[in-house]
């Protein structure tokens, strides 16, 4: 950890990579929130895989390795993939999962073929395109980060401008249409930016794992907030954190590759959120459940006591604990708790209701 902080302050390369992965995580966190809420999680995966032939074709046509060029190529083929998925679902009897599967594998397979062809070419410049498969954050240079940063800021501005439109498009597109919004245009705009967010991350995280960085921060953030705005901010923070921590871990120890580590961090955040979220988490749900059961058990015992007590004129008259033993649902622990709450008094083998306990039992 200390070693990394030292590097972060002194090493320009580490600073560049960290900034790059942080912005990628941030952008993915923001746009991924919409992808998750629109139930387009798998679309993200298909788009990421569809981007690969675009990168290869961009290189074959120009012969240069340029980030902006790759982003344009990848975006175009990603968008083509998305459009094809859409039209397959619309015009055939295939459901969207089949359409996603087909497009994902066809584009990815085609991309791999192109990569193989490129590698056979006698060109010294050809090496390194495989990095788009699993990502290689170490190859990020300042000019890449500038491109990533500009596109990230653009998508942020877009979300702020069309906040209301994207919200209603996501929640109730048909209603939005009756209000006169061009939902096809909105859909295309939002999907395009989701494509761009995915493409931005390809160099660092890779085609295969990219969708995880898109979806994981949003899935985690959903656990912590019931408001769209807050959810997106948390998702952006989670995304950026995954980028920063992932880069930190991979740059210090063992020379682990960055993309997979970033994804693992993001997924860890998801797991932690599923367990520890106060309103939706598994832990709080279990605790609420236990608490409910406990209070129900106490109430039940109190009620049984009341039934016994009501047969006497004086409610504070002591009764034998044995008397309760014959009834169901009674436990020693339960009596202790009632005593601690000041609802009953226990003397030797007898119990009696206090005034407070009597009132409470009456009110159940």
């Amino acid at each position: 950890m200390f070693e990394y902080l030292n590097l972060l302050l002194t090493d320009f390369t580490i600073q560049t990579i960290t900034l790059g992965t942080a912005i990628i995580g941030l952008t993915c966190g923001i746009l991924g929130s919409f992808a998750v809420l629109r139930k387009q999680s798998l679309l993200g995966d298909a788009i990421a895989h569809s981007a690969l032939p675009g990168i290869a074709i961009a290189f074959i046509l120009t012969g240069v390795k340029d980030t902006l060029l790759f982003i344009i190529g990848a975006s175009l083929s990603g968008i083509i993939g998305a459009i094809w998925i859409n039209s397959i679902t619309k015009n055939t009897r295939l459901k969207s999962d089949s359409a996603l599967g087909i497009i994902l594998s066809v584009f990815f397979g085609f991309g791999i073929v192109l990569l193989t062809i490129i590698q056979r070419k006698p060109n010294a410049n050809q090496a390194g395109l495989e990095r788009f498969l699993f990502g290689q954050a170490a190859t990020l240079v300042p000019s890449d980060v500038i491109v990533i940063g500009i596109i990230g800021i653009l998508s942020l501005i877009l979300i702020i401008i069309f906040w209301k439109e994207f919200k209603i498009l996501t929640f109730d597109p048909q209603f939005a249409k009756t209000l006169g919004y061009n939902i096809h245009l909105l859909d295309l705009l939002l999907t395009s930016f989701i494509v761009v967010a995915i493409v931005l991350g390809l160099q660092a995280v890779g085609v295969v794992l990219m969708s995880a960085l898109l979806l994981a921060p949003a899935a985690a953030a959903r656990q912590w907030s019931n408001k769209l705005g807050t959810m997106i901010i948390i998702s952006a923070i989670f995304g950026a954190l995954s980028g920063i921590i992932g880069t930190a871990i991979s740059s210090t120890n063992l020379r682990l590759s960055t993309g997979p580590i970033i994804v693992l961090i993001a997924v860890t955040l998801v797991l932690l959120s599923f367990v520890f979220s106060p309103s939706r988490g598994l832990l709080s749900r279990q605790l609420r459940y236990i608490k409910n059961r406990k209070s129900m058990r106490l109430n039940k015992t109190l009620q049984q006591m009341l039934e016994i007590v009501d047969s006497h004129e004086d409610f504070s008259h002591p009764h034998s604990i044995k008397l309760l033993n014959d009834l169901q649902g009674f436990r020693k622990k339960c009596l202790k708790e009632l005593e601690n709450l000041g609802l009953i008094k226990i003397q030797l083998n007898n119990w009696s209701l206090t005034e407070e306990g009597y009132k409470k039992a009456k009110s159940i």
Binding site: L37, E165, D172, T178, K227
Partner: protein
Amino acid sequence: MEYAVNIDDLTVAYKFKPVLWDIDLDIPEGIMMAIVGPNGAGKSTLIKAILNIIKPIAGTILIFGEPYQKNRHLVAYVPQKGSVDWDFPTTALDVVLMGTYGRLGWIKRPGSKEKKAALEALEKVGMLEFRKRQISQLSGGQQQRIFLARALVQNAKLYFMDEPFQGVDATTEKAIINILKELRSSGKTVVVVHHDLQTVPEYFDWVTFLNVKKVATGPVKDIFNDDNLIKTYGIGYQISIKK
């Protein structure tokens, strides 16, 4: 008579299967109309075609004498409750505010005026105290009331509702029908896709029988009879109707 909606020769098909066939239908202004018919009769489709959500393959639809695009601000819509994901991260008030988006147009955000209107609508449907509640924590009936409130802030002249009584309890049904009757008495037109034939005479003054083709349309007292029920639903349905 003034008409809220004029439909001529409307035909709608999904892929190859016709869902609505050659519908002519005029909806007079100021009535409360039920659209009834069996499952798959095209009731929701008819509403969606009028609201420009679905593109018909033939026919013309006029809203107060003009195409939908021109008069869409006069129209409010309550979709089926199940058409959205109620786990969406937002509050009841925020959903109701969406009813003002049509007036606001692109980019402009709802302000204090819109918020005031939304709170009034929430009060009208008896949901004011739930305004900050996350929508997934509302009961089915409460969600339906939120949708109704969203339509109320649209401040329209013509209301379309797609099965607003589905899965709501008797209290909510009464509350909703009272609001709809109030709308009608202030001169608005209300069109409801309705499933419960028993309550048609009690709730509505106008009815349209639909089963892909239009079977009949007119005042409930004139046309809500065994003859039309059999034509729409087939033999066996007339017995269950108390008149």
